[in-house]
Structures are given as C-alpha cells and as structure tokens.
Amino acid sequence: MTTSSFQRGVVGGVKTYAGLTGALLAMCVLFGFASDHFFTLSTLGTLSNDIPTLVVMAVGMTFVLIIGGIDLSVGSVMALAASILSMAVVRWGWPVWTASLLGVACAALCGAATGAISVGWRIPSFIVSLGVLEIARGMAYQVTNSRTEYIGSAVEAISAPIIFGLSPAILAALAIVIAGQLVLTRTVIGRQWIAIGTNEEAVRLSGIAPRPRKVLVYAMMGLLSGVGALFQVSRLEAADPNGGVGMELQVIAAVVIGGTSLMGGRGSVVSTFIGVLIISVLEAGLAQVGVSEPMKRIVTGLVIVAAVVLDTYRRRGERA
C-alpha cells in the first residue's frame, strides 16, 4: 500500500512537472532555431552562473507564499547584505567567510523583522515588507555611501567552475532546492506550513501555534536572500547598492509560474526551480537573439502568461 501510494507520488510528480517542463523545452527549441549558439556548453555555463541567486531566493519565496504571505523586500535585503559583506571585506579587512556570515545574518534579521512585525501585529506582510524594502534599500545606500564597491577576486571562487563546469554556487543552490523540497514534503514543519497556508485558524484550533512558525519562514527568506547576495557578489566581484531593484517581482513570478499559489497552502520547490529556469532561459535566449528592447518586454510578458496557461491545461487534463 505504501509502495503504491509512493508510486502514485512519483507518477504524480512526473505529471506535475510535465506542463512546465514542456513549456521550458518548447522555449529551448525555439531559441535553438533562432540562434546558432544557443545549444552550446557556454550557454549552459552562463546560465548556471546566472541563476544561483534567483534560485535560492525563489526557494525562500516558495515557503513564504505557501504560508499565505509575501515578501517584497527581498531585492533590497539582498542589496543590503551584499553591501555589508563588501564593506566588511574592503573597508574593515575581514576575511570573506566571516564577512559573508555577517551579511547573511543581517539579511536573516531583516527577514525575521518583517515576519515578527507582520505576524505580531497582524499587519499584511505585503505592506510590512514594502516598508522593509524601502528601509533596507536606504540602509544599503547608507552603508556603501551609494557607491558601487569593488571587491575583486577574494570572492571569485564561489562562482568559479569546479566540476563539470559547475560552480560551488550552483551546486549549493541545487542542494538548497532539494533540501527545500524534502523539508516541504517530508517533514513535520513542512506539513505545518502547508496547513497554516491552507487555513491558519484551523491550525490554531488544532493546538499548533502558527505565529512562531510563520516568523521562521520570513527569517529563512531573509537568510536565503543573504545567501543570494553572497552568490551575486562573487559573480560580479562587486556590490552594487542598486542591485536587485525590482527583483521581488522576478522572484515571485518564478515561484508563481512554478504553480505555487499566492493564496497559500499549495506549492512545490522543484516547480519553482523550473519556474526560475523558464525566466532565465527566456532572458538569456532573447538577449542572444538580440531582439529589440520593446520586443523583449512583449515576448517576456507573453511567455509568462502562456507558461501558466499551459500549466493550467495540464492540471485540468490530469483531473479529468
């Protein structure tokens, strides 16, 4: 019986991802035709170098959406963490790893603050995180004195290929995806998060305190934004206090394309990963093909909607 329900799980899984993977493949094929150089190792390398930041932040956002929240501050928090990290390295001469710890810790703190305020005072996380968006951005400017901070090769290693052209950053990001999916589907806290997102009141009534568990998710989101900042800094060897402007929408888009519900209670980390791939492949492909800026925007919009429509049909089909 367990086996059969496990098998159902696996088959369900393949089906679950079929719609999105289909959309992704279709896109790849199109770009393959449009650009001679799309199907090359270097495209793959570039992509795998591009996405770690977006991936880890999208994993965090998946959990935030699952508990029925939202966090708009992620882009700013990332910039703040990157700024602090680079200040620590460049100005105070800290070693990279302690500086990274500091940056990540500050980001986690921002997340925890968003969570604590929104949960504690029962204020929509939308508005609290919008406030934190502004505050963290202001602090990033303050810390760096609004200057791009160049760090240099000290942090390069995290983004340098070590095996099969993959960098520690992408490997870590993949590990976080897998860990995230396991936590979501296989652990007690994962179940409780889903339950909270489905009906918080019912969870409370069954004797589980939802609030600390919610704050934890926001703290985790902050932490992952910090990790994203580390990847970003190592990729660019510089910290840009303007970095990550508007990134919140990109992160949320990836998660929602992956099928996670904005209403809470439903989501998958693996699908989020596919969502990130869709967005990133699209961006890379359009830039390779070199279409004009207006067309880029129009195509991006169409693909976002089309991917989700396609996924909807797949889900309908499955039910029937």
Partner: protein, 290 residues
C-alpha cells in the same frame, strides 16, 4: 536664515548613482566654502527614470521659494513645463548633465542655459582610443544605458562614430539599464551569440563591471576588451590591471558647481532668465590609468 542670502536648489537624478553622488558632494563642498553667500537644498529621485517624481521635486522647490535652481533632468522634454513654472515664479534655472530639448523650450517660449558635457564627444573619445587597438573587421558589442535617456543615446552614437571610423563592426546594441547585474546578463548573452566579439563598449562603468564578470564566466578573460564611462571609484582597480581599457571622466562634481556659480553670478548681477546666456560646455577627459 539670513534673508539676504539666496537659496539654491540642486535637483538631480538617482542619488544612488555614484555619478550624482559625486555631483552632490561637489556642490556641498562648494557651499561650505561659500557658506556666507548662499544656502543649498539638494534632492534626487530614487531611480534614473522616475520623471514624475522629479517634477514633484521641482514643484516642492517652487513652494519652498528657492531663488535659483540647478537641474539634471531625468527627461529632456517632460521637465520643461514645470521648469517654465519655476521661471514664472521668479526662479533662475540652469540645466546640467542632460540637455533639455530645444523644441520643447521653444514651444514654451523661454531659455535655460546648459552647463554640461557633450556625451557624444566623450563617447567618441574613449571609442577612438579603443579603435586604435582593434583591427579592421573585428566585431564589438555596445551595452547601452537606459535607452530612453538622451545621454545614453548620445553615448551610443559616439561609440558608433568611433567604430565606423576604425572600420570595426558593431554586432549588437543592447540595454544594460545602467546596472551591473542587467549588463552582466546582456553581456553574457552577447558573448554566447557572437563568439567573435573582441570588445564591449559600455555606456557607464557599472555596466562595464557587469561585462567583465560575463567575460570571465565565458572563459574569455583577457580576450575581450572593455571600455566604460564615468570614472567611478570601483572601476579603478580594473583600470589598473587592464581589464578595463579606458573610461571617461565627465567631472560630475564640477558640473553642479559650474551651474551654481553661473547662477550666483546672475543673481548678483540681477540678471533675468532671458538674459542669462546659452551653453557652457564642460570638459570630458579620457582616463586610461587609475
């Protein structure tokens, strides 16, 4: 406050851009050195594109009854009507960095002196320097700033002028939005799509930083040359080790100061907007060493 002391407002674009920060600092230092002569209110908007916010800033300056206004317009046309209002309210206005549109000024029937560099000229300068190191027929890409801004457009034109002159082929122009991360993505894609690219011409230094990391990822470190614009702090180490070939200094800190000084002079001489005069071009300089 001293009633006789004039109040000068400086309205810029994104203060999160080092370029404008330098400009602001230059202005503030100047004010400190001449504290007896005038007061300064400096304001900027949150990003380069928020025209509406900049208009609101100018309106607030009118309300605050400043005597003179230095503006780096986020948009060459859309700022014209509100500046007309300022002039009508008796405020003297000087334009820096990004030139206001002549047709729009004419339609509104007033003049605003421009104190600033010629961006096309600056871009041509650094472009020519690069051109000398390229062979005829080589391929290059241009990474442009926010495509809707006048100086981004001008710089791209300057780059193109230089490349045509050097007989080099521009295989792509894409926008990196003045930012590191966007430029990085665009540069990566350009390098993948055109493996023969030998140089990337970037509209500002932030985008040059993004391009350099794209080059490294593509395994082409040392094989693709990069030029930038602005001469910000962060570019210096890269100029030093040669990853960036050259950039342009447009003396941001001086631009505002020139603007302020010409205003103070006009105030002292009791000039009106109509009698203030035309363009004062500020210098641009090629920078090849930190």
């Amino acid at each position: 406050a001293d009633a006789a002391k004039p109040k000068v407002a400086l309205v810029m674009k994104s203060l999160a851009n080092e370029f404008f920060l330098t400009m602001e600092n230059g202005a503030k230092e100047h004010q400190k050195a001449h504290a007896a002569q005038y007061d300064l209110v400096a304001n900027g908007i949150k990003d380069e594109q928020d025209t509406a916010a900049q208009i609101k800033l100018v309106e607030q300056m009118i309300v605050s009854k400043v005597n003179a206004l230095v503006i780096a317009p986020a948009d060459s046309k859309a700022l014209v009507p509100v500046l007309k209002k300022a002039v009508d309210a008796g405020i003297l206005v000087v334009n820096i960095d990004n030139k206001l549109d002549d047709a729009a000024l004419k339609e509104k029937g007033f003049l605003v002196p421009f104190v600033g560099p010629d961006n096309r000229k600056g871009a041509k300068l650094v472009g020519d320097f690069l051109g000398k190191q390229l062979k005829k027929g080589e391929q290059v890409g241009i990474i442009e700033g926010v495509s809707t801004t006048f100086n981004a457009q001008q710089r791209t034109l300057g780059f193109q002028d230089a490349m045509t002159a050097a007989g080099v082929k521009v295989v792509g122009v894409q926008s990196g939005q003045w930012e590191i991360a966007s430029a990085n993505t665009v540069a990566s894609a350009m390098l993948n799509a055109n493996p023969n690219i030998t140089a990337l011409l970037c509209g500002n230094d932030n985008m040059a930083i993004g391009a350099i990391s794209a080059i490294r990822t593509a395994g082409k470190a040392g094989k693709v040359k990069v030029i930038g614009y602005d001469n910000i702090q962060a570019i210096k180490p890269m100029l030093k080790d040669g990853r960036v070939l050259a950039t342009v200094d447009q003396f941001g800190s001086q631009q505002a100061v020139f603007g302020i000084e010409s205003l103070l002079k006009a105030l002292a001489e009791k000039k009106t907007q109509a009698t203030m005069g035309g363009v004062i071009e500020t210098k641009v300089a090629l920078v090849t060493k930190p």
